[in-house]
């Protein structure tokens, strides 16, 4: 195993380099485009060296794009805010609902608990539109169409199973004796949950929350179906932006960069937990 030949090392090196280029290039390229003016972007062959400009970002942030043809309004910051609000609130709700349920499933095996847990899990695998399409009709009747509340509710479809199954695993990893010891010391189940179970499962809960946030942020189809322009998150907003602004490629790139930065940053921050989260607790990283 140890004495690998030089040729093999070179081949491995080349293979890894190709892999890194393939997976990193799009992000790097879009990042570079976001600092270019339209003229440099449109130049052929594409430029690797250019004079960076912050104009694209300024335009997005101020919401005003001044061109030769006049001033164009950009609602992108609104989309960004929607993404933040929808993701944060959805995860908060999912944690509020999911953590106690996960605790119940982990600690008290009650009648039907496994069936219920699996039903929740099956949401993760069911086609989203199966539920979404009838839901649009219901939401219109209920007045939930194009509301944050309606969207947050539907976002539970992805956040809740994720949190439930990951956090449940972390609760199961706490030895029951530790909780028993606290109960016997004279504390109620709620005190035990708060002072023992929650702190010990804390890192897992945080990781599940971050992952749920990433999935909520990256979701596209829910808002595409259920929200109109003023409630749309970046995923849908960027698509609309590309259609409406036509040829403002620099701004589009800057919008994409702004839209993917939060999840990338969080992912790097929580990468230790990603494997376990992505496999819903089936694989430990």
């Amino acid at each position: 195993m140890e004495h690998t030949s030089l040729l093999e090392r070179i081949l491995r090196g080349i293979a890894l380099t190709l892999v890194v280029i393939f997976f990193m290039f799009p992000i790097v390229w879009i990042f570079m485009m976001s600092f270019q003016t339209n003229e440099t972007i449109l130049r052929i062959p594409p430029q690797l060296v250019f004079k960076p400009t912050l104009a694209n970002y300024t335009a997005l942030i101020t919401g005003k794009l001044t061109t030769a043809a006049g001033t164009l309004d950009i609602a992108f910051m609104r989309n960004l805010w929607n993404s933040v609000f929808l993701s944060v609130t959805s995860v908060a709700v999912a944690l509020l609902l999911g953590v106690p349920a996960a605790y119940a499933f982990a600690r008290h095996k009650f009648r039907g608990s496994e069936d219920i847990a699996f039903t929740l899990l099956s949401f993760r695998f069911a086609p989203a539109l199966l539920v979404l399409l009838p839901l649009t009709l219901y939401f219109q009747k209920l007045g939930l169409a194009n509301t944050y509340i309606g969207l947050i509710w539907v976002y539970q479809l992805i956040c809740l199973p994720l949190i439930l199954w990951i956090v449940r695993g972390y609760f199961e990893d706490i030895p029951a004796d530790i909780e028993y010891a606290y109960r016997i010391a004279g504390h109620s189940w709620f005190a035990t949950f708060r002072k023992i179970a929650l702190p010990l499962a804390g890192p897992g809960i945080a990781a599940a929350g971050l992952l749920a946030f990433i999935f909520a942020w990256n979701n596209f189809v829910f808002a595409l179906v259920l929200a109109s322009a003023d409630k749309q998150p970046v995923t849908v907003g960027a698509l609309a932006f590309i259609t409406s602004s036509g040829i403002q490629y620099g701004q589009i790139s800057a919008a994409i960069v702004l839209s993917i930065t939060p999840t990338l940053a969080l992912a790097l921050y929580a990468q230790r937990y990603l494997v376990e989260g992505l496999s819903l607790g089936a694989v430990k990283g």
Binding site: I178, Y180, Y182, I184, W189, L200
Partner: protein
């Protein structure tokens, strides 16, 4: 203070019965040792008393009060776990303080309480450490301190010395009885170590497969074990067990050991002609001069001096190996041929098929009656 009573308690896991219609009373201030192999149901019993699991049938009473439906926090018991079950995110101090915090003691009362019990258990210097910074011995003492700190009327100790090293176990075996006696609490102590059981218990309950096989003082369990299994579990070196078939002659009932007739003291009429096993504790055997009545000729194979006694392995002319023990410092043969005599009063006779002890002194044998 409080007595403890279990009435017809049944606990099942799926189809398996872990505790089978078990009843048990522990008097106020008494230390009862639950002794038995793992899987006997000892730990389950402790947890039922503590209230962290519920019985399927039966009642649990503490101080005469029915606690069956009360949650653990209302039962007023202290418990130390085999694996310590310390709270990993709290310091030793906070670990020990949890029972006091539960009843809303004042900060100063908590501080004095924790410090005095920590001093007693010699862990005062590590109170600021988290469990992962403690040695096994310190963890064990912290767990014990947590169980003791609130002076609970009932103390449940689940094999607390299992996971500590031999030296510490030895120390604690000496220390614990005094500690428990000082508190005056009713104690249920689980162990798999017969020496611990003998040292600590006012009474010992020998458990196996979810039932109590024998309940009695350490003395009773040792001298009158209910069956071969219990006889074998108690005693070090282990009891000598030899197949015999008792017969009768003019002088009474005797068994043949190596062509020598050894008469038994006791009422063993029912055993005549049956396949039996005789149990001879090593200390019930002694070296005697040739010519002594009923002396059994043997060859000495090996000698092992232990701390307070010397154990000799001998072989009879029939090739059976027997252990003989004598107090250290007493003279004895170390090699060659020798003769041993049997203290027939302490010989134990068991039915070979059932394993139950045969004999009139059989007061606590729960499964007697099949003898005839």
């Amino acid at each position: 203070m409080a007595s403890l009573e279990l009435r017809n308690v049944v606990k099942r896991y799926k189809s398996q019965t872990v505790l089978d219609n078990l009843s048990l009373t522990v008097a106020d201030g008494e230390t009862l040792v639950l002794f038995g192999p793992s899987g006997a149901g000892k730990t389950v019993l402790l947890r039922l008393v503590a209230g962290v699991i519920d019985p399927d049938e039966g009642k649990i009473l503490i101080g005469g009060e029915d606690m069956t439906d009360l949650d653990a926090e209302f039962r007023g018991v202290g418990m130390a776990f085999q694996n310590f079950a310390l709270f990993p995110h709290m310091t030793a101090f906070d670990n020990i303080a949890t029972p006091l915090q539960a009843n809303r003691s004042s900060q100063s009362a908590i501080k004095t309480g924790v410090q005095s019990v920590a001093k007693l258990l010699k862990i005062g210097h590590v109170l600021s450490h988290k469990p992962r910074a403690l040695s096994n011995g310190q963890k064990q003492r912290t767990a014990l301190a947590r169980a003791l700190v609130g002076s609970p009327p009932v103390l449940l100790l689940d094999d607390p010395l299992r996971n500590v090293d031999a030296k510490l176990r030895f120390e604690m075996r000496l220390e614990l009885p005094r500690l428990l006696a000082d508190r005056g609490a009713t104690v249920v102590y689980v162990t798999q170590d017969y020496k611990e059981a003998m040292a600590l218990g006012d009474r010992i309950a020998v458990m196996s497969q979810g039932v109590i096989k024998q309940l009695g003082t350490p003395e009773q369990i040792y001298r009158e074990p209910a069956n071969i299994e219990i006889a074998r579990l108690f005693g070090d070196p282990t009891i000598n067990l030899l197949d015999v078939k008792p017969s009768r002659d003019a002088k009474g009932i005797y068994v043949g050991l190596s062509n020598v007739q050894v008469h038994l003291a006791g009422a063993y009429e029912t055993a005549v002609g049956r396949d039996c096993v005789i149990g001879l504790r090593p200390e019930a055997l002694s070296f005697v001069d040739e010519g002594t009545p009923a002396a059994i000729p043997v060859t000495i194979e090996a000698e092992t001096p232990l701390n307070e006694k010397i154990v000799t392995l001998v072989r009879t002319v029939r090739g059976r190996e027997i252990l003989v023990s004598r107090p250290a410092g007493t003279p004895g043969q170390t090699e060659g041929r020798a003769h041993i005599g049997v203290d027939s009063k302490s010989a134990l006779l068991f039915d070979r098929a059932s394993g139950d002890r045969i004999g009139s002194k059989n007061v606590v044998n729960l499964r007697s009656g099949e003898a005839a």
